[in-house]
């Protein structure tokens, strides 16, 4: 028991970087992070609350409001399940972890890791479940008993999806270790899942209507397979003590069973995951000599395509916009409005395309973590006779290669399907190019300011680092302000586009100068 507590303490400290937070000397930075965290928390909580409110109103029309919470329960469970798959891969099934050399039972390590994963998942549950429950309770004017049962449901909610996520994470890891091109397999698998989720979310209204029309079948389905959701429904709507006990027992049993089953095979599983496929003998090939920029860009490309989470996080928007453009060829232009979640009558299509493109480019910033991604290999670039400006250029080129080719093709397809004039199409392409350059340089500058070379897994640096967050959010905020200025001032669109061109070019010039002076100096300081 004492070893479990000790390990838990270390795992929690490591996962949440508690020591770093405690030792933070820069008060201004700490205040900034706190304000940012509060802003994000408020935004997420209010969004979930609003969606719950809308959902209740929709289902109330059909007298089916009792299904709102089970749906949120399911979505929350899916979010936990999905994110756990990735967390489990680096946290639970990491064969390189030195902890296995210590005299600690595998069951203790497994228990500690499962507990930390569950704690992490409480963030998701808190963000989705709590506002949804409160809004539901307030609208339906429910009493204290509802809140007590809801709180108990919240406490045990993450257990089962966490366990399922771990099992699925292991299955992916197992099959990935058996195929030759692991990274490609993992990327395709993840892309497939995400596209499926996107398909579901775009068709949520159709699905909701189908749900309303087939409520009896869904009810039967819930009672037979959705055992946990069923008991959740019963405890939350009928305050059934029996169902509450079944619910708690099922959740705890899932974790206990998982540990009991996996504790003996844990080490063996890790060893299976460690197997590397090696090719046969090296056959000498002629190598063509390349210049420094080409060499660096090729290295960036190889690194990019070998990190699935990097590909997924930075190219999903571009791939999605490409599919959306193809869809407009066969369906109608509403696909674009569905992505934006806005009313199709309020804006002309040409005007709408610009913010969509800008949004996708801002969200696809490879440069915002391109310095951090070097990690322990950073010494290679530092000790080689390479000028910093060439390193910067290679990172900007990578972002351009990831975003622009597919984006330009998508814009051309949009131009054809939405019947834009040639001038309009070229204008959008030019805007995409300069937006991409501006975002790339900004991402690079922000990563130079906040590099994170000591990361444990690529997920930390690609998805959870401060520079990745700022690299996406600041341009998005700027584009939002630009849009707000346009709608409030009601300037002529052509004049406004010229102003945006001038503004973006000025930003590029300014950033370029900062990169040339401060960036190079800063790069030398990082180690």
């Amino acid at each position: 028991m004492s070893k479990l507590l000790l390990l838990l303490k270390v795992d929690i400290k490591r996962t949440f970087s508690i020591n770093k937070l405690k030792n933070r000397k820069n008060i201004l930075k700490t205040i900034g992070i706190v304000i940012l965290a509060l802003f994000i928390t408020t935004s997420v909580l209010s969004s979930v609350g609003m969606y719950t409110y809308m959902g209740i109103n929709f289902f109330m029309k059909y007298g089916l409001e009792k299904y709102v919470l089970p749906i949120i329960y399911f979505l929350c469970g899916f979010a936990i399940f999905y994110t756990t798959i990735y967390k489990a891969k680096s946290f639970l099934f990491n064969p390189e972890d030195n902890i296995f050399a210590m005299p600690i039972k595998p069951s203790v390590i497994l228990s500690s890791r499962i507990i930390v994963l569950t704690i992490l998942n409480y963030f998701i549950v808190s963000f989705i479940f709590i506002p949804a429950f409160i809004v539901y309770g307030v609208i339906l004017k429910l009493g204290m008993l509802y809140y007590i049962y809801a709180f108990l449901a919240y406490l045990f909610m993450p257990f089962v999806p966490t366990v399922l996520g771990c099992i699925f994470g292991y299955i992916i890891g197992y099959f990935t270790s058996k195929v030759n091109n692991k990274k490609l397999f993992e990327t395709i698998l993840t892309y497939g899942t995400l596209l499926f989720v996107m398909y579901l979310s775009f068709n949520i209204q159709t699905i909701a209507l189908k749900f309303v029309n087939n409520v009896d079948i869904i009810n039967k389905l819930l009672s037979s397979v959705g055992f946990l959701i069923n008991s959740f429904m019963a405890l939350i709507s009928q305050y059934s003590l029996k169902d509450l006990l079944i619910y708690i027992f099922t959740n705890i049993a899932a974790v206990v069973l998982f540990i009991a089953i996996f504790k003996n095979s844990y080490i063996k599983i890790l060893q299976n995951l460690k197997i590397e496929n090696t090719k046969k003998k090296y056959i000498e090939k002629e190598h063509t000599k390349k210049n420094i920029i080409t060499t660096l860009v090729l290295k960036e490309i190889k690194m990019y395509f070998s990190i699935p989470i990097y590909i997924l996080n930075t190219s999903f928007g571009v791939v999605l916009i490409f599919f959306a453009s193809i869809a407009t060829l066969f369906y109608d232009k509403d696909i674009l409005f569905k992505i934006m979640e806005i009313d199709s009558k309020s804006l002309p299509i040409y005007l709408l395309l610009i913010p969509v493109i800008a949004f996708v480019i801002a969200a696809s910033n490879t440069a915002a973590c391109s310095i951090s991604i070097e990690g322990k290999n950073f010494w290679i670039l530092k000790t080689m006779p390479i000028e910093s400006k060439h390193i910067f250029l290679s990172k900007i080129i990578l972002n351009t290669l990831v975003v622009l080719p597919l984006m330009v093709v998508s814009i051309i397809i949009f131009g054809i399907s939405l019947k834009l004039t040639i001038v309009q199409t070229i204008t959008v392409i030019l805007l995409a190019i300069i937006t991409n350059i501006a975002c790339s340089i900004f991402g690079l500058l922000i990563n130079l300011k906040y590099p994170r070379l000591d990361f444990i897994s690529y997920t930390h640096v690609v998805k959870q680092s401060f520079s990745s967050f700022l690299g996406i959010m600041v341009p998005l905020l700027l584009f939002f302000i630009m849009g707000a200025v346009y709608t409030s001032l009601k300037i002529d669109i052509d004049t406004y586009i010229l102003i945006i061109f001038a503004l973006l070019l000025s930003i590029i010039m300014l950033q370029y100068n900062i990169l040339k002076r401060w960036g190079i100096k800063r790069f030398d300081e990082i180690n």
Binding site: T295, M303, I386
Partner: protein, 236 residues
């Protein structure tokens, strides 16, 4: 070839390297020894351009690493204590990457890659991704990547860690051969027996200061290098 003059490096208020001066001439092997945390790696990182420093200067073949970093790095190769290299590349891709950066001629690189990878017995594995290599194989690859561009000065931080006995022997032989051809070698090590046998000159560093420096034959007049080392640090 390598001249360190009054080098001082601070981490905040803490002085990591305190006013040290070292000179390594062409064809010399220089051993740098000291306790853990004495300042060996910090000094090496300053030499190769990873760390900037407050005072003093480091000249590589008469060029300052502060003023002419690219020129200096072109003439230098660095082998770190931990072979952290691009795991997602194959061995041959990494060697070609290094060769392209140092602008190594196609035929020369082919010959050197063949020669060293066969000597270190990783030739057959060059098409495999580096993540599948053992620690020792990665270390061998880093050594080959350092030699493939024929540097004038080789800076090594604990180069023998992780190498098997045969590879250690080969590396020592290669170091001797390269010095005979005029290369300078500066390396840190905890293996005092190797330092004693291999080096022309040594320096002992303690708490960021050079406490002993000189030709190896002069230093071991007083006893084995281990005895001198212990006696010197015992006096501190």
């Amino acid at each position: 070839m390598l001249k360190i003059t009054n080098l001082t490096k601070k981490y905040g208020d803490k002085i990591a390297i305190d006013n040290i001066s070292i000179e390594v001439k062409s064809g010399e092997i220089f051993g740098f020894i000291g306790h853990n945390g004495a300042g060996k790696t910090t000094t090496i990182k300053c030499i190769v351009g990873i760390l900037s420093f407050e005072d003093g200067n480091i000249l590589i073949d008469a060029d300052s690493i502060k003023d002419e970093p690219i020129k200096c790095k072109t003439k230098m190769a660095y082998i770190p204590d931990n072979p952290d290299i691009y795991e997602t590349l194959t061995g041959i891709e990494y060697l070609n990457f290094v060769s392209d950066i140092y602008d190594v001629d196609k035929n020369i690189r082919q010959n050197l890659i063949d020669k060293y990878s066969k000597e270190f017995e990783i030739y057959n594995d060059l098409d495999n991704v580096i993540s599948s290599y053992s620690h020792g194989m990665k270390q061998k690859l880093v050594v080959i990547s350092a030699l493939v561009h024929s540097p004038k000065i080789l800076v090594l931080d604990e180069p023998f860690v992780g190498l098997d006995p045969k590879a250690q022997f080969q590396l020592k032989e290669i170091m001797k051969d390269l010095c005979n051809d005029g290369m300078s070698i500066f390396f840190s090590s905890h293996v005092l027996a190797v330092v004693e046998k291999l080096c022309d000159k040594i320096a002992i560093i303690n708490k960021g200061k050079i406490v002993r420096i000189g030709k190896i034959e002069d230093i071991i007049k007083e006893g084995s290098l281990e005895d001198v080392f212990m006696a010197t640090l015992g006096d501190e």
